[in-house]
Amino acid sequence: MKKKIVLIILALMAFVMCYPILFLMTGSLMGKQELIEHLKPMLVEKPEGFITMGLLPVFPTLKNYVQILMDSPEFFVMFWNSVKITVSILLIQLFVGVPAAWAFAKYDFPCRKLLFTLYIILMMMPFQVTMLSNYLVLDHLKLVNTQLAVILPAGFSTFPVFIMYRFFSDIPKEIIEAAQIDGANALQVFRYIALPGGSGGIISAMVLGFLEYWNLIEQPMTFLTDPKLWPLSLYLPEISAKTAGSAFASAIIGLIPALLVFLAGEDYLEKGIMASAVKE
């Protein structure tokens, strides 16, 4: 009995966790009239009563989506900016971070411990602490107000190195030694043992990375002054009587890529989170 009550509470909490998706979905499928009816108290000067929201739209329509997809070229630009920025960051992390993680996991070299400590400290730093440093170098390289200003510092983030490192360390050294005895050189070991053996870690880092970089707020807002360069995460249409519907629809469209990555990669996401825990 007691267990049942706890379970019901937990299920209710789970509903609260996922409610934003339902809420945005419902709003985005509502016709203009219906949505204004619900949101009226925040749309008029002297409000009476309170905002309401149905669980499901009474008269579902795709008009809001049509409007945002057909009539808002700036939305497309921002969506495309988000894709460009996110994919570029993840590609740099792949090319740069994977070998680095492999180096920390299986090689010994001078200052290894010191450098690794440094990487961990850096991954903990909030953006605001490194903001000025980033700015100084980006300004020097004449990159401020280009998307590279967001892409490059994030591409060299040390967080994915750390996640992948945890997975690479699990590859037994006997396999590597056997390959070396068979005459494999360092690159071959990396290509044929590290990459397949650590693929789980690489995917985990990419999933965590996608959710993070699809969501960039501070970096583009700080380093990109031209709104044409902004990613979708900075697209915040005012909720007015005219734009409420497209605000909901754009929120759903912005959510879809992240949700797809989440659903497809949830196992890897969990593994990636667990990798950051200390092994017993």
Binding site: K106, L234, L269
Partner: protein, 281 residues
């Protein structure tokens, strides 16, 4: 591969990453440290002048106070609630997995999307006040009063509880079942088992959770900024707001000194944990 011959192969693998870190973070941060002891625009040595200015700045004191208050409220709240849920979910199989997935969903919801809900929920005439009125209590101006702070706490717990549940459950599942069985055979009660076996065995994962909760707590600025802009209610004015505002106002002396201070604080917090991350190869 710990032979002297391969000593430098590792460096080669690391080099591209290290070069980027040096160029984009370390070298410019050295310049920030230099700037923190320099008086601009005369560009002359200022000693700890900038640091004194920062610590005496009332906005800094308020933001630092709010940040500390935010951390001391939301971290224990998040860590304890996620532990309680994990312990319960740990005994459930299918349903536990499903609920865990549901708790992780907020990680995938972009801030810019959820902000619409926050605005509708916490508006003066919003959903929440509608519920409060229906329940017969007075309405609250959520975003423009001391309650703004609690909106931020809620937002943080909502976003991060799934992350922490995954970590706690990883810790719980690493405790061998045989220890529990032995304790039960010896007649230990559930509470005793919890305090004598479960908690001590979770100590390592606990430290990781504290550090990662701290790391993720810095990110509430995104919600705070998108909901309330550069100057939100004073109760939720965090160090992140202050840094962004100093950057926009080009108060670079103060910004560099404050960045050094926070970097030192975070380094001191992180150093004890990093030893635990070293693995044998």
């Amino acid at each position: 591969m710990r032979s002297s011959r391969t000593n430098y192969t590792g460096i080669l693998f690391l080099l591209p990453s290290l070069a980027g870190v040096l160029v984009f973070v370390l070298l410019p941060f050295a310049d920030v440290i230099r700037r923190s002891f320099t008086e601009m625009p005369e560009n002359k040595w200022a000693g700890i002048e900038n640091y004194i200015t920062v610590f005496q700045n009332t906005a800094f004191q308020m933001a630092a106070g709010n940040t500390v208050r935010f951390l001391t409220v939301c971290m224990p709240l998040l860590i304890l609630s996620s532990l309680a849920i994990s312990i319960f979910l740990n005994n459930q199989t299918r349903l536990g997995q499903l609920l865990k997935s549901a708790y992780l969903v907020p990680m995938a919801i972009p801030v810019a999307s959820v902000v619409i809900l926050w605005k509708v929920l916490f508006h003066q005439q919003g959903l929440l006040n509608g519920l409060l009125t229906a329940a017969g209590s007075a309405t609250v101006d959520w975003m423009n009063s001391k309650y703004a702070f609690w909106v931020l706490v809620f937002s943080y717990v909502w976003k991060n509880i799934g992350y922490n549940i995954v970590l706690w459950m990883a810790g719980l599942s690493s405790i061998p079942a045989s220890i529990y069985e032995a304790a039960r055979v010896d007649g230990a009660g559930e509470w005793k088992i919890f305090t004598r076996i479960t908690l001590p065995n979770l100590s390592k994962v606990f430290y990781t959770i504290v550090i990662l909760s701290l790391l993720n707590s810095f990110k509430v600025f995104r919600e705070a900024y998108l909901v309330a802009g550069n100057y939100p209610d004073e109760s939720m004015y965090l160090l992140q707001h202050l840094f962004q505002n100093w950057y926009r106002e080009l108060s670079l002396d103060k910004l560099s000194a404050a960045a050094v201070v926070i970097a030192v604080v975070i380094t001191l917090l992180v150093l004890p944990i990093q030893k635990a991350f070293y693995l044998e190869r």
